[in-house]
Amino acid sequence: MAQRQTPATDLRPRIRKAQAAILLVDTLVATLHDTTAGRTARLKKLWVYNGNAAAAVVEIGTGVVGAAALTNERYPRLRVEPGLYEFVPEDSMPSFEFDTGQDIAVRSSVGGAGAAAVRVMAEVEEIGL
């Protein structure tokens, strides 16, 4: 795994983006953030709501949409109890930098249609041109 330097003064051009929350209706891999080609991406904030009747364990990393498992998990798993939400603010979010153009994938251990879905939303910083 490549490790990038993030000096205290990081002057690389960047923008913050938040794509619409996604609904995880099943336990397959989905795209949390579609990273622009040529840019790297860092997760800055994460919000997960579990509408399912069972606890949801959410995984974040890289993977193929529709696959049964992520290719690579990049963050520790997040457990969200039924009917509750977890919010990871910026100062608690590690600055892992996904490779150029690499989408951020997500998967939940439970899913369901409508109100039973697990909802995930991220604020992402894209770095590059």
Binding site: P13, I15, D34, T35, T36, A37, G38, G128
Partner: protein, 192 residues
């Protein structure tokens, strides 16, 4: 005629490069045009010169579209800078088939990142004379999601000019008048 200071693309916020009473010369379609500056006024960064090219699908590019905001009346010269409000890349042309900000490596584009490296957008500075030299834009959506709008803003200075007749340019001997040395040259190309 001596060439005096070339003042386009100065770092810092945009400011007039021509003063009332000064002469200005610019090269259009291969010939020099001489004018005297009567006055100048600012163009606000407002809705009137904001242009929304429209929705663009992920990874797609728009047609090369003429600017609807950077328009000058007769005998007026615009000195404008550009910025974008959405996550797009804008290639500027002037004329429609003539790329600005391009070299052998390709056509460099204005994006949201441009403002971070060039906060006053000095490198985007463009000149347009009358309505026939409007810039053109081709907008690319580099992201993986569709964008619903692709906005380009402009702001700058408008100069009201008075054409210098040939009799004002040449003396009786047919030589360029020496006081034209006080002429500022616009280095930015404006093709028809």
């Amino acid at each position: 005629m001596e060439l005096t200071t070339i003042t386009a693309h100065r770092p810092g916020p945009i400011s007039p490069i021509l003063k009332p009473g000064e002469n200005v010369a610019f090269l259009m379609q291969g010939s020099w045009n001489f004018y005297q500056v009567l006055m100048h006024e600012p163009l606000q960064m407002g809705n009137a010169i904001l242009q929304d090219i429209g929705a663009i699908a992920a990874g797609a590019a728009s047609a090369i579209t003429q600017s609807t905001g950077v328009r000058a009346d007769t005998n007026r010269l615009l000195q404008v800078r550009f910025a974008v409000l959405d996550d797009i890349r804008v290639a500027v042309f002037q004329a429609q088939a003539s790329a600005k900000f391009a070299n052998l490596a390709g056509h460099t584009q204005i994006s949201l990142m441009s403002a971070q490296m060039d906060p006053d957008a000095a490198l985007t500075e463009t000149f347009a004379f009358e309505d026939t030299h409007r810039p053109w834009f081709q907008v690319t959506n580099p992201t993986g999601v569709n964008v619903a709008q692709s906005r380009i803003i402009a702001w700058g200075i408008q100069y009201i000019l008075d054409p210098l007749p040939k009799s004002a340019l040449y003396d009786d001997a047919g030589n360029i008048r020496k006081d034209l040395r006080a002429t500022k040259v616009i280095a930015s190309a404006m093709a028809a």
